[in-house]
Symmetry: C2
Subunit: 323 residues, 2 copies
């Protein structure tokens, strides 16, 4: 047994090595740098449900002082610096949420499918890392029709990504984005969003299920109107047993900007004033009830709790833990 | 082309589905719950170095009001509640850091090898998920001799886990823990730590390289004395190009307790007063210099920045991003 070795003996024997900073032993071959991120897959339980956060990537958007319509570029850069982020670039993290209710596999929003930036489009790889095939998904539930939420429904070539899934969308989103008149009045990037929604949905229109926000989607998932970001932007309440979670979609976006400054209006909010009202209402509820929240653009794994402060709200990210 | 379909026609055709919350289509077979967490592997660059945070798990330690020697159980529970954590349980997250300098693969601390709790011991699985074999590790660098830092050197059966690695430890840790007299005066769990250090190191004593804290270990990794938690507890500075990181070991432990309340003394600090001095010095430096920091018991991926507040310090976790 090692405990019978004299301690004095081996202390003496090994003392020559003391203080040795230059290590004399022959080196192994240098391990190559990996060059790839680890899987972005994080699981947590909610009652009997199993939730999986699936990271799609981060869109590093150059903002040139113009991301917040009612705050100066300097104020935005100050908020970025407070979060130890570089100036003039908005890191738009993208994380979809998969809910396994025990009888249904529901994917809430779909990522970018690599159609927006080279630094996003990893959702399907992470789905594979999670041991789930796209064909396993029963329901794809869409919060709203911005490209980073719906593009994952199709490959760049237009093929369906989730061949067996029912696609379920908010009725007011459908009505707004699939309307010729609205499209004809749109300009710039918003015009592109109309074209993109058409590309994604036109030839599967008969298969798409539309719901009125407020409706239950499946047992345990209820939709909640959260209008403003887009006309039909929808949040979801997920509940199992006595545990519940508020899935906020794009109501808050980057917490270091829009939780801390809930009145700030990002350029992506179509009705900025209504979006502020919705944001404040939802953050107030989350903070007051100490609710578990998820949000598509929160840093991966995109879940946590909100605390009300003197000037806004703070995200307390969930602590990574074994399942 | 889909753009030639009449929008009016398909809006009408699909209108029947509007508001449908009960989905009529036949369901797929229910996907089984996974029951396992996703890989805990997070990579980031530091200059030319590639760093990989490797999650070992979380030890949920029942504390019965006795984890902080100079704060009441009620005050500790209040701090846990502020972090949305349940009372009376200390979640001790464990994340080792792998540094690929381009010529050496250096693992800083080794996890528990499943020898402390069922909810930790995942480091080697996560190393495999990162694409690295234990035999690839060139150097295992130890911060101090507490079991959750050194047990990963051996399997439960005593086999070496990293067969080709040089094991490099702080000289004052070796001197303290391998001393018969010190062991004979130890009681309770600390006596167990002495026995455990002997179990890990006795029969490889001649192979263990000891350094004096302050020494450079390999180019780009310099050891820093951080005494108090244990007599030879050591932190590390990692530097490549003009980027650097402070790897704090157990200087801070759970940020929601000991960053926010730097004067609190956890039961695991052998010299609580000295540990407080070290903790304040290191947090002051990290906050003042806006340094990237890593810490073994910070929530995975266990890296971020520290902000000084009126009463203590706050961790701003690094935002998960593509490599």
């Amino acid at each position: 047994m090692t405990t019978h070795v004299s301690r004095r003996t081996f202390l003496t024997a090994s003392a020559l090595a003391a203080g040795a900073a230059v290590l004399p032993r022959a080196s192994l071959a240098a391990a190559p740098l990996s060059g790839t991120q680890g899987p972005g897959v994080y699981r947590y339980k909610l009652g009997a449900f199993e939730l999986t956060a699936l990271y799609d990537g981060t869109w590093f958007l150059p903002i040139d002082g113009k991301f917040v319509t009612n705050a100066s570029g300097a104020a935005v850069n100050e908020a970025l610096a407070a979060a130890f982020l570089p100036p003039d670039i908005m890191p738009i993290s993208i994380t979809a949420l998969l809910v396994n209710t025990g009888s249904k596999l529901v994917l809430i929003d779909t990522g970018t499918a690599g159609q927006i930036t080279d630094t996003a489009g990893f959702l399907n790889g992470n789905l594979a890392a999670a041991g789930i095939r796209p064909a396993d998904i029963d329901i794809v539930l869409i919060s709203h029709f911005h490209p980073d939420h719906i593009n994952g429904l199709r490959t760049k070539d237009g093929d369906k990504v989730f061949p067996n899934a029912q696609i379920v969308v908010p009725e007011p989103e459908w009505t707004f984005w699939m309307d010729d008149g609205n499209q004809s009045r749109a300009t710039g990037s918003v015009f592109g969003y109309f074209r993109n929604a058409w590309r994604i949905f036109a030839d599967i229109a008969r298969e798409v299920h539309r719901f009125t926000p407020g409706a239950e989607i499946v047992p345990g998932i209820v939709s909640l109107p959260a209008y403003g970001h887009t006309p039909g932007h929808t949040a979801f309440s997920v509940q199992s047993g006595n545990e519940s979670m508020l899935v906020m979609g794009d109501t808050v976006r980057n917490p270091e900007l829009f939780a801390r400054h809930p009145d700030w209006q990002p350029i992506f909010d179509i009705d900025g004033a209504l979006a502020v009202t919705t944001r404040r209402r939802m953050l107030d509820r989350a903070a007051a009830d100490r609710m578990l929240v998820g949000a598509y653009h929160f840093p991966f794994p995109a879940c946590g709790h909100m605390i009300k402060t003197a000037t806004g709200y703070e995200l307390v990210p969930s602590m990574w833990r074994p399942l």
